[in-house]
């Protein structure tokens, strides 16, 4: 059951993230956090030596980087990955209305999906940078196989996207802590039906109708 009536609080709970999705999110967040934390002293050299020796910082950055795609891949490909796969399809497929909503920066009407266009863009960006940072980071680690010009390009891209990641992750966390109902769902899995009616109306309708829509079970 995805829709559960809880009579005590008179709040109808709608499942937004299953256990696999929550675990994948937090594993991914932990890796991103460790990578960003270690990136700062690696980039701004004068910070290091204060907390940990540089060699250790490098090793943490390297291994977390190599592990970065694992949460996404494991949660998508396993038999437990139905929820993940459905949401990937949702993130991929946009209506004209959603495109227009993004173009007008939220000023045009939107019958929102499970994720609004901004949230979808965040997910796509994170997916892309996992691949980009893994590839460019590997080029920097195993640089001997690449020409100096390509190493230089890889350094450039790795650094430029690192800046973008900081901006996007700070934005993501800011949005999360200012939207408590949505935030709760990444801890406990559910949102209230009232919240869904306002912020994810199309998804709620599909979930309720159970007409073969992705989240109906």
């Amino acid at each position: 059951m995805t829709v559960t009536q809880t009579t005590t609080h008179h709040v109808v709970r709608v499942m937004r993230f299953d256990r696999v999705q929550r675990a994948a999110h937090w594993a991914n967040a932990a890796l991103f956090g460790a990578l960003m934390f270690t990136a700062i002293p690696l980039y701004f050299g004068s910070f290091f030596g204060v907390v940990l020796p540089r060699h250790l910082i490098e090793q943490i950055h390297l291994w977390c980087g190599l592990a970065l795609p694992i949460p996404i891949i494991v949660s998508l490909l396993g038999p437990w990955g139905r929820g993940m796969r459905r949401d990937v399809r949702r993130v991929n497929a946009w209506t004209r209305q959603e495109i227009r909503w993004l173009q007008t920066r939220g000023r045009s009407p939107l019958e929102a999906d499970k994720f609004n266009p901004g949230q979808k863009l965040n997910a796509i960006f994170i997916g892309a940078v996992i691949l980009i940072m893994l590839v460019t980071g590997s080029m920097l680690q195993w640089f001997r196989f690449f020409s100096v010009s390509l190493r230089q390009g890889a350094t450039f891209v790795h650094d430029a996207f690192a800046f973008a990641i900081f901006a996007v992750v700070i934005g993501h966390i800011t949005m999360a802590i200012t939207h408590r109902d949505a935030l709760r769902s990444i801890f406990k899995g559910w949102v209230s039906e009232q919240w869904a009616a306002v912020h994810a109306s199309r998804w709620l309708t599909e979930t309720r109708d159970g007409d073969g829509s992705p989240d109906a079970r």
């Binding site: 540089r54 497929a93 979808k120 390009g153 891209v157």
Partner: protein, 244 residues
């Protein structure tokens, strides 16, 4: 499909028609990154050459030093405490103070610092003493083949053949970027080997020993070429005259 006006009106603002925006944005962003890998180096070089290193310094990743240290620490050496000990196969072993070095003929030039891992800083002003002048000051013996360099960090070591050390852009540097070499850049005195990758330019230079064979340094023992010419060749001498 029914071809009636009403249906067409609906499909004109069809709310359920889906566009694979996710795939397009994903491919667009990764494609941009691939272009960046392929051409980022050239773009940086172009900007660096066209506008000097100032603009590049503002771009993420462009024209900035990454500070590396083997030990994770910077040896802090006061100028007055600094000593460069030159020994081995020499006629007159000598220990130089910073003032001794500054009293010698000054060599200065502007050259790119290129790291083997791909970052570079163009137009760095360097100033110091030719390694060649230091060798002449102590007088190297006939059986001398190479130099071994040691660092105040007690971990890093480097090597150069006598011929490499005689090149006109290989110096013991005490000024860099228009100021005394800072601690994080290897100050007060570091090596700068312009025609080779940055790992050859040992920081916090403490000693030079003149020896009878090349002894691979710290990075060489960890897989880097002993002769790290910027053009990628690894022979003892480099055929490209533009590098020297």
């Amino acid at each position: 499909m029914l071809r009636t006006t009403s249906v067409d009106l609906v499909s004109a603002q069809e709310p359920t028609k889906r566009v694979p925006v996710g795939r397009r944005v994903f491919l667009g962003v990764t494609g941009l990154a691939a272009l960046g890998v392929a051409f980022g180096g050239s773009i940086q070089n172009f900007l660096g050459n066209a506008f000097g290193s100032g603009l590049g310094g503002l771009l993420p990743g462009g024209d900035r030093f990454r500070i590396y240290s083997i030990t994770g620490e910077y040896p802090k050496i006061k100028d007055s405490d600094y000593r460069l000990k030159v020994s081995g196969l020499v006629h007159h072993p000598k220990t130089f103070t910073l003032d001794d070095l500054k009293a010698m003929p000054v060599t200065s030039f502007t050259k790119t610092f290129q790291c083997v891992t791909g970052w570079r800083v163009p137009d760095v002003a360097w100033e110091g003493v030719l390694l060649s002048d230091i060798m002449d000051a102590v007088g190297i013996r006939d059986e001398a083949v190479a130099l071994t360099f040691e660092s105040y960090d007690r971990s890093d070591t480097e090597s150069l053949t006598i011929d490499q050390a005689r090149l006109s852009d290989v110096i013991v540097a005490y000024r860099m970027l228009g100021a005394p070499v800072t601690t994080e850049h290897g100050g007060p005195v570091r090596l700068y080997v312009a025609p080779m990758f940055g790992y050859k330019s040992l920081k916090w230079l403490s000693a030079i020993r003149v020896v009878d064979r090349v002894q691979p340094g710290f990075w060489e023992q960890n897989g880097y070429p002993v002769n790290g010419w910027l053009d990628g060749t690894t022979g003892p001498t480099n055929p490209d005259p533009s590098l020297t």
